[in-house]
Amino acid sequence: MIIDRETIDLYIDETNQSLADIEKNLLILEDMGPNIDKSLANLIYNAMHVIRNGASLLSLSKIKDLSQKIENVLGLICTSRLTPNPEVVNILFQGIDRLYQLIEKIHSHEDMDIDEQLVLLTGLTSAVLPDDIKQSVTAVRDIPVPDAEHVFHISEFNLIQVLEQGKNIYVLTFDLIKDVQEKNKTPLNLVQFIQQHGEMIDSVFDIKSIGTLEENETSSAMPYFVLFASTLSYEDLILVLDVQSDQIKPVNSAISDLILTNNKTHQKDLGPVISVRYEDTENKSCKNLLNALSCELDFAMNYFSCHSDKVLSMSMARMQSVLKSLKDLQYQKNRIQANKLLWKVGKNIRDHAYQNNSLAKLDIQCGQIMMDHRILSRLIDPLTQIVIKMIRCAQTDIPAQICLKMTQNDNFIQVTITPANPQIIAEETYLDCSVEENKFKAVSAEFTQTFDISTGLVITIRIPNNVIILPGFGVAIDDHYYVIPKFNVTYCLTNLPKKMWHENNSNISFYHNEQHIPVVGISSTDLSYFQTKKSLIVCNVGNQQFALASDSTEPFELDAVCQPLSKQLKSNPLIAANCLLDSGQIAFVPEMGFLANKYLSIC
């Protein structure tokens, strides 16, 4: 490597940060299904592109090759040829995991093997392409640098991808001494600058021109060639890059056949598109049902004056039927195939095995089971922890293989975790899972562990099918936890200067955004009580707005699984439901209508 240590450290820091962002954004993209946010997809693509270009600049060949393959897959996602489903994202994550490892051992990364990841990513790319383009994924095109000995070796597929985007391909020549060093820039600055105007396909230093120590004179130039794709014309590029005309050479002859094919392709369809663009039928159904409900309400209002119990009861039955359909629709909307989230457990286990330099395999079997994604996402962490604990208990020289199996019946979904070979866990060994148990119980799931000679250690988690889930914000108020329904919360105020509090005839309000927001307390209505509070949760109930005084500076978001109130609490007007937090503590869901009335009575 001919780049200084500082630049490499900077590259490592930026790449680690970018990979973390890419991972986070990929998960968001995955949740979007076939209707992806194009701008987010492009953001991920560009981030990977920057990583590749940096690797190219620093001559980190394996990082460059792997990031190139990931970039190819991301390019297919950007053009909607590939849907980022769990399988696709999982393969991308495997590539990203390996990139992390390569970055971590950057000085010895050439010794690391990336074949497995390259095969998976190449397979993914070629699998979705039409037959006539398939071979381009593995075919390599030589593009010579004009007036120099160097040749770029580029995958044909990369060239096709940029041509499909309507870009022209150029070779740019820079001098790292004149264009970088003398201008007090770093090579990475130059790369970032170039990328503002197009896409760097590849880049290389002309090391031969630098000379060697044996030679009497070393060159005063350090040529740096960039294979560049941009929608800008030759003339425009000279202007924006502030270079001489001889520093830019259009590439035509070496790729003339690809340009011709691309022009033809553009005249017809762009090939089979894997992702199916579906109409948002759920929204349509929802709209139809709301219309139906509105009609039923009109019907009830029109006949209300006739005081006929029969008509009213019929009307109520019809409304209930529509409401039930709405509820069913909502229920269906939140259900996803379990494997769409459960693969994350597998990824976590791989990460854990890598970090601990151990080997372990997790076999996830969940068939086509559908589950509420809010429950499922709360199971990922405790399931991961249990598998890790089981791996730690395993007494084996070969990689521990753990099976996670999901089955279902009318009432519940059951997850069983067992070692594939029961003998690897010593007899009568039980795991300490108190933390995980609390998390399962918070979603109303039952947790058991048994030991049997034939089956070994078996962990069973039973998740009831019909639970009431309330998306909300958890806050602490007067030594209690409350979950405020998300649909009631407008925003949260945490900066509460004393001068903003107002008291008028015992009515307390807080001045914010040029309005006085009436404030409601759970246990008191005194100004001194309110002034001890750390935040105000501004809520809307119907057309009433009020603020609930809270002791939490940062409300935490959660999908609470509500448990019915006992008959002793049903008459409590303040409490609508109760639920368990992951910590095992009990939280209450306040009756927002009661709090709104409390504010009205103050007024």
């Binding site: 049903k570 008459s571 303040l574 503590q585």
Partner: protein
């Protein structure tokens, strides 16, 4: 005694416990478990006799202070207090009592109707009274104790 009580016959094992100074009992089969878990979360805006709620292995159980409910003076000793968890109308409810005593084998035919007042507590809260060698056991009518009067 209600008709239901009148129909009772045969033997019964009474789990006995103290509510204040009063020795009470209930059919042991009604009891799901007895615990001394005192990590009870109070419930705001609740009647005094509702001690709070308890996380019993993932199930939220409401705990009722039997002393308060029956209008008896509060016990001074917290160490001996226990939650008797019963299943009432498909719901687990905890009864906080001052001390758990022995199990007493009894016969329903020897259970006498409760007087209108048992040690200062209204008779309606009891199914009857069973006379042991040297003590009287007031058999608690769990459903009556758990009735939420604020609803009516």
């Amino acid at each position: 005694m209600s008709n239901q009580k009148a129909e009772k016959d045969g033997k019964v094992d009474l789990a006995t416990f103290y509510v204040g100074e009063a020795l009470c009992g209930m059919d042991i089969l009604k009891i799901q478990e007895i615990n001394k878990n005192m990590e009870i979360t109070s419930v705001p805006n609740s009647p005094d006799y509702v001690v709070g709620v308890l996380n019993m292995r993932g199930r939220i159980v409401t705990i009722i202070d039997v002393c308060q409910k029956l209008g008896l003076p509060q016990s001074k000793s917290k160490d001996t207090q226990r939650n008797i968890i019963v299943n009432s109308q498909n719901e687990y409810i905890g009864l906080l009592v001052d001390k758990v005593a022995e199990v007493v084998p009894a016969e329903w035919r020897k259970v006498t109707p409760p007087p209108s007042n048992v040690r200062g507590v209204q008779g309606k809260y009891f199914e009857g009274v069973y006379k042991k060698e040297n003590a009287l056991i007031a058999i608690l009518d769990v459903e009556e104790v758990l009735k939420d009067e604020s609803v009516s």
